[in-house]
């Protein structure tokens, strides 16, 4: 510690110098913050200002830098000093842009700035420059699980980018679902005709690629390790095991069709009622000629029933099947109706839909089918009878009448069921029961594990966590391909329902994610969302009580347990969210630059006004992923909020240790507000907030009330009323 030299740099640009007394701030940094070097600059982020800091680092041996200027999210390129520890006091977005204009507010504005300088200095005192993890992992090979269109694409793209790839396919040939198709919906202009799947060409490219190793008739018997050092056991049908070391995994295990026999109300299981895969088989058999039914009769009329057993009660069928839309089926039925029309325009084809959903360029494809004479009717199908002349009874929703048509063949557009392996909530429950000694549970686990795709040896279960409806994903809009297992990326219909074009785009994206993961792992850096972060959780095992809270709560399955139930950290799997730190009741987990102390000392550094001065103090712990950016945006738009709040960014509300709340209330804060996502919200890494003690005290702040800022996130704000004191004014 003797070698540490602390410096604070205060910017007076961007109006800071006009609104704040910089001299006072300098004095505070020096006297209270105990900074050995304190300097101000009229334009700190320009070349001259940055040079001043760099000179001090080089010539004055400064090791710790506090920048009192703008938000930590601004000017990150200018304020990039990789060789020193750094804190940022947010005087611009956090003070002068959000405190009301005018002299009447000068005092509270200055108080706020003073506190942020105190807090920045206090934080800095407790920080260390992350040294980086010496235990780096160096495999840059990529494992792709599944040899369908998504898997083939991911393997090919990764290999083309120069990464050695291992592809595992369960079947004896490559192709997956795509191999069952006669043609695919178009992905090229003019988007008017069914196209060749392109599978043969792609499979040949993959098979002959020098960087791709293909394992057919194979599955994963075990996956152990972490990004950069996964060890996978690949089991052949014969039972032979091959071991491979890989750095990242793309899971592209696709889907199966919903079982048509579960749809008796739509004729499922009867003769001449097929699903879309069934029609593809007939088309492949026809090989461009007239499509014949199973009984050999040429099909002269076909009815397509959309949303069969999909979209709950909004689709066709009893409503007790799949609740979601599989996205591809409308275009698929359009394509299949064209199989008939292209072969013989006199064949009658009727597509019965409730909403024709053809995203992307699908609208052109739809139009093309209309031009070919495919009849589309908005209908609710009430019954289908199979047999020689299938009768489809339906309500025409435009003409508002019950009617029926006869057809030689009825095609049910059933949905995609993801092949995502074991559902972890059920697995966790069984594991608990098995731990309690239940032999039945133990048996069930054995059966369940047979359905696993990855067979991870993780403490938290053998497969990827499923988000909704059994799909393996973390958030399909905000974080595509990301899963809650670092270094393992989901691509294609295993992640969400999709068509082949989306699946191939997905596969490309997931391949790039996998490449990022192996590169980051090899440098000991964090992956998304703290990409490049060199800090990682440090644990003082001698203080650990083996309570398992960290291993249970880690949202990313990064922590295993050894035989004595001590936590075993796998840094490469860690996202640096700090949930383990927040969970630890004995506070033995920390990061070099983020710890119970770095935040606790900030809380204690705030100057508390006299109890009767009518200047309450509210502490806001704001998630750096959503709430803090929202507060910055409030600043950018000059939204005024209360000058009585003091905001500390946290890596995730999960990292909030209850000691901070106690500290805050003890040091005189009147209230504490947690700003981030609600428990159960899944928009950030599928994480959500860990339930904290005093959960019963939670009540929502009034989003319309000024003085709390970040209204964009008002709906997901938490408000916690402390044991004493009062809520913010």
């Amino acid at each position: 510690m003797a070698d540490n030299k602390f410096a604070a740099y205060i910017c007076s640009g961007c109006g800071l110098g006009d609104k704040l007394d910089i001299k006072t701030l300098e004095k505070i940094a020096q006297k209270e913050g105990k900074m050995q070097v304190v300097k101000s600059h009229p334009f700190l982020c320009n070349a001259e200002g940055v040079q001043m800091i760099n000179d001090d680092i080089a010539n004055e041996a400064v090791t710790h830098v506090c920048i009192a200027a703008c938000s930590r999210r601004a000017k990150t390129e200018a304020f990039h000093f990789p060789t020193v520890a750094m804190s940022r006091a947010n005087l611009r977005e956090g003070v002068i842009w959000i405190v009301a204009e005018g002299e009447a507010h000068d005092e509270v504005r200055q108080e706020m700035a003073n506190d942020y300088v105190r807090m920045g200095c206090a934080e800095l005192k407790k920080m260390k420059l992350p040294a980086g993890n010496p235990d780096t992992a160096h495999s840059k090979r990529i494992l792709v699980v599944g040899g369908g269109m998504s898997g083939l694409t991911a393997a090919f793209e990764a290999a083309e980018a120069g990464y050695e790839t291992v592809l595992v396919e369960k079947q004896s040939q490559l192709g997956g679902w795509a191999a069952k198709l006669w043609r695919r919906a178009p992905f090229k202009a003019p988007h008017a005709e069914p196209q060749d799947t392109g599978l043969t060409v792609l499979a040949a490219k993959v098979s002959s690629h020098p960087l791709i190793k293909v394992h057919l008739n194979s599955s994963l018997a075990e996956t152990a390790g972490a990004p950069g050092r996964f060890i996978v056991k690949i089991a052949q049908e014969s039972g032979a095991i091959t071991e491979e070391t890989v750095g990242a995994i793309v899971q592209a295990t696709g889907f199966t069709g919903y079982d048509i026999t579960k749809l008796p109300e739509l004729g499922g299981g009867q003769a001449n009622v097929v699903d879309q895969a069934g029609l593809e088989a007939l088309a492949i058999a026809a090989n461009g000629g007239a499509i014949k039914r199973a009984d050999g009769k040429e099909v002269k009329s076909a009815v397509f029933v959309q949303c069969a057993g999909q979209r709950g009660s909004g689709g066709n069928g009893s409503g007790r099947h799949l609740d979601y839309c599989s996205g591809h089926c409308c275009a698929t039925s359009i394509k299949q109706a064209m199989y008939f029309k292209d072969q013989n325009p006199d064949i009658d084809t009727v597509v019965m839909y409730s909403d024709l959903r053809v995203p992307g360029m699908g609208e052109d494809f739809y139009r093309s089918a209309q031009e070919k004479g495919v009849i589309f009717t908005k209908a609710k199908v009430t019954a289908v009878s199979g047999g020689d002349a299938c009768k489809v009874e339906f309500k025409d929703l435009i003409l508002d009448e019950d009617t029926s048509v006869d057809a030689d063949l009825v095609v049910l557009a059933t949905g995609q069921v993801p092949s995502a392996g074991v559902e972890l909530d059920a697995w966790t429950q069984l594991t608990a029961e098995a731990d309690g000694g239940s032999d039945e549970a133990k048996q069930k686990i054995v059966v369940m594990n047979k359905t696993s795709v990855l067979n991870l040896t993780y403490r938290q279960g053998p497969d990827l966590p499923q988000l909704k409806q059994g799909f393996a994903d973390s958030h399909f809009i905000c974080f595509p391909y990301e899963t809650r297992r670092t270094g393992i990326y989901a691509a294609g219909p295993v992640r969400r329902p999709m068509d082949m074009l989306q699946a191939t785009e997905d596969a490309t994206g997931a391949a790039l994610k996998a490449i990022q993961a192996v590169e980051n792992a090899s440098l000991g850096r964090a992956a998304h969302p703290r990409s490049g972060d060199l800090s990682y959780p440090l644990v003082r095992l001698e203080g650990c009580t083996q309570c398992k809270r960290c291993t249970v709560e880690c949202p990313f399955g990064a922590i295993d347990e050894d035989e004595r139930r001590f936590p075993v950290f796998n840094e490469q799997r860690c996202r640096r969210c700090g949930t383990c730190m927040g969970a630890c009741p004995v506070r033995v987990i920390s990061f070099e630059n983020y710890s119970v102390d770095t935040v606790g000392s900030q809380i204690k550094a705030v100057d508390m006004p006299d109890e009767f001065s009518e200047r309450p103090r509210i502490l806001i712990l704001a998630c750096e992923n959503d709430a803090y950016p929202a507060l910055d945006m409030a600043g950018l738009s000059r939204t005024v909020y209360s000058a009585f709040v003091r905001i500390i960014p946290v890596r995730c509300l999960g990292s909030v240790n209850t000691i901070w709340i106690t500290d805050a209330l003890n040091s005189g804060f009147d209230g504490v507000m947690m700003m981030g996502c609600k428990k159960g919200d899944d928009y950030c890494q599928g994480l959500g907030t860990r339930p904290l003690p005093h959960e019963q005290d939670r009540r929502h702040a009034d989003p319309a009330r000024p003085g709390t800022g970040a209204r964009r996130h008002a709906g997901s704000r938490h408000h916690r009323q402390p044991a004493r004191g009062h809520a913010d004014q």
Binding site: S301, D346, D348, R367, I375, T377, K378, L399, T403, V405
Partner: protein
Amino acid sequence: MSNANVQANLSNLARYQNNFLKEVEANVEEGHMVKMCMQCGVCAGSCPFGPDWEHSPQKIFMMIRAGKRDEVLGSDSMFMCTSCYNCIVRCPRQLPITHIMHGLANYAHRIGMAPKGQPTRQFATLFWNNLVKKGRVNELTLTLGHYFTNGLVSGIKTALGMQSIGLGLFMAKRLNPMEIFGGHGVKDLKGFHAIVAKAKEIEDRKKGFTA
């Protein structure tokens, strides 16, 4: 099997098949666009006489696709079109709905399936005949002709009812009673008539209408 059953079976066969659609495509102005309707219903909501139609354009298009020939061609819905073109400019699929409505009305009228005594059908016929007569429209004879469509007594009643308007227009020099004896017209009437006759002959031949 009884005759009625055969009939029912036949109409069942034609349902949701392309027969009537093909007839419309062959014989109705812009009829080839009917199949392109995507059933959004914007036309139905955009029509000024919307509440007065039995079937909106959206429904008419679906009925054609469902093979409801008698119901469509016997409907007076198409005659409710005021030619305001709202549906055309709003149709997301760019169907020329106004023209299709005109075309359907024309087709139903020419093959004798349009409802008898439908006032717009009558007025439109009167209008065309009036303009063909002289090459230009004679507003007075057109108006009087319209009022007397339903017979002498009702005509006199209507004309008397509208007298104040006629008188007003006369006073404002915008209606000329002398028009009844002739009025405006093209000079080359013979040539004009020859053009109309020839055009009609070509169209009738193409669509298989009997004159």
